[in-house]
Amino acid sequence: MSVEVGNTSRVFFREAICRAVGETLDAEPNAILMGQDVGAFGGSYKEFYGLFERFGPARVRDTPVAESAMVGLGVGAAAAGVRTLVSITYMDFVLLALDPLVNYAAKARFKTGGQIRVPMVVKVTAGAKGQGVAHSQSLESWLMSVPGLQVVAPSNVADAYGLMRSALQADGPVVYVDHKRLFPTSGLLSTLPHEVPFGLAVVSRPGRNATIVTHSYMVSVALAACEQLAVDGIDCEVIDLRSLAPLDLDTICTSVSKTGVLVTLEEGQVVCGVGAEIACRVQARLGPVKVSRLGAVPAPVSSNPVLEAASLPDAARVADAVRHLTTEGK
């Protein structure tokens, strides 16, 4: 799909990623994309569709199922001056590649006194969509705590494109986190090349009574909750982080200082999660505010539709949490 609308066109999420990657492979004749089934197959979600035909097998490389070496090669090539994008199908499998990513890539620049930089992007797909206990995890909070790693997570087509463009221009390692449930979505995208800078959150919906801080697929869940809350006259603001490391505390605090109510929402675990960090930093700057942290229940995520739904945050739960906070002490 690619319907021109003025100088923007409506594209699918996967097409936004594909365009950003294609533009980079065009601009950097040595840049390499590698991953399982990223070649003729075009990626699990067709997010690399057509790149193999355009750039050939030397630059768009199918790999064996060997996440550790995939990332290790990506790190080594990047450290040696060739930009790499390594596609790891699901975020659960990044657990197999943390040694090269955390023990080497995140530390290379520091430990060599600045001699080595690692301009590599690891793209992973997080979130649950009927795939079961070992294919549904969201581990952003782990990665954002690693000094030396940047972590971004788009929630829509425009950011999927703009953040990938920025990621592929960064001179240090970046983890780009997309989500299974975002691939069916589409949206408008400017036909002109552009970037979405790291470290800038956006207000996805303005509101006066409460602030929901979230990222990735959960942005749409937050917006759905807002619709339910609007009926009760509760007007919520939704902040889409876009970038988890660096984190845009200013935009969050501007909102919370206005609403006085902070709800953090993530699909991953609440314990030591993204929300815990945000709640602490916001209150360190603004002083006490009403806080509620939402995330998955403390259990594995089953592929069973009943159990998966029961274990993940949904609009109703988010709305309840906001109602509870906003009516507290009234």
């Binding site: 399982q36 089934d37 070649g39 003729a40 197959f41 199918d62 790999t63 064996p64 199922v65 060997a66 550790s68 070496a69 659960d92 499998f93 009927g130 079961g132 206990v133 070992a134 294919h135 229940v297 403390p298 259990a299 594995p300 089953s302 592929s303 069973n304 539709p305 009943v306 159990l307 998966e308 739904a309 029961a310 274990s311």
Partner: protein, 311 residues
């Protein structure tokens, strides 16, 4: 089902094929990883196992689970997420498990079950109970370091572990040759002095014979063994995955169907009459029907089970 006769093997393959045929028609239970075309590997290997042996496998686990004797109704129930599945509908596709039946189970992480299986073998060795652990994995798993680490330790410790590579020539869309450098995947066992074979995975009698020979060695305490079975996957990677192979290739694969192959052999050898064969297919159809009825009748789990049995 050790030393089971050919008819039992034929029945087991027909059962898997039949159950999967139903599964592949229903879209309401998410995608499925079908064993169609690869039944001879699962069944042939299961023929070599004793009741207390343990079989572990990849996410492609329907034929292996059935071959190990799990009740088709409970397998069906698990696959469509019902409470009467062995995992109460919580594990679901890719995580079928019933250790009490010698099916330690599936694990959907490619190569993830290799070191686990070695651990199960280590427990058997520690108890000295004479049982063996068998790990069934795909060609894709052969690119993973887990295989190397597991083979080295299993060889050093002479663990009662039989490694069976069900090489269906593809990892999703990636041809085995594009992902793996070795000539034969069984060559990977050589540096560790692990006894290895590569056999035709489309002939259940060949698989069974090789599995029996190697399982016996392993059981004797000779340490691990490696069996590569060359097979064909009839359907695409999963019921939701795009097919990338050419029609001619798929047609040629169908020519090798392990079920018709065994059935024809038995017919021509006079070991099975056309009438008996017909009756057998009828019985299987009835069992599949009953299995589906049982599964359908089973309730879905209740939401609070999302918190159950953690850790």
């Amino acid at each position: 089902m050790i030393a089971s006769n050919d008819t039992d093997a034929l029945t087991a393959m027909l059962l898997a094929r039949g159950l999967e045929a139903v599964l592949s028609r229903r879209a309401d239970c998410g995608f499925q990883l079908l064993s169609g075309g690869q039944e001879a590997v699962a069944v042939g290997v299961a023929c070599a196992l004793l009741p207390k042996d343990q079989l572990l496998c990849s996410g492609r686990s329907i034929a292996p689970a059935l071959a190990r004797g799990l009740d088709p109704g409970s397998v069906m129930a698990e696959l469509i997420g019902r409470s009467s599945g062995p995992c109460l509908g919580r594990g679901g596709r890719g995580h079928l498990s019933q250790p009490s039946s010698g099916f330690f189970g599936a694990h959907a992480v490619v190569a993830g079950n290799l070191s686990i299986a070695a651990g199960v073998a280590l427990a058997m060795q520690a108890r000295g109970d004479g049982n063996i652990a068998v790990c069934l994995f795909g060609d894709g798993a052969c690119g993973a370091g887990a295989l190397h680490e597991t083979m080295n330790i299993a060889a050093l410790w002479r663990l009662p572990l039989l490694l069976v590579c069900d090489n269906n020539l593809y990892s999703v869309s990636t041809p085995r040759a594009a992902a793996l450098a070795p000539q034969r995947l069984s060559d990977l066992a050589a540096p560790f002095a692990i006894e290895a074979r590569t056999v035709d995975g489309m002939d259940v009698r060949v698989v069974r014979a090789a599995a029996l020979e190697l399982a016996t060695r392993v059981r004797r305490g000779a340490g691990p063994a490696f069996l590569e079975c060359i097979s064909r996957r009839f359907a695409s990677h999963s019921t939701s995955a795009r097919e990338t192979r050419q029609p001619q290739e798929l047609a040629a694969d169908r020519e090798l169907d392990p079920i018709t192959r065994l059935e024809n052999a038995l017919l021509s050898e006079g070991a099975l009459s056309a009438h008996a064969a017909q009756a057998l297919r009828e019985q299987v159809r009835a069992r599949v029907k009953a299995a589906c009825a049982f599964a359908e009748a089973s309730p879905l789990p209740v939401p609070h089970e999302a918190f159950a049995d953690v850790g």
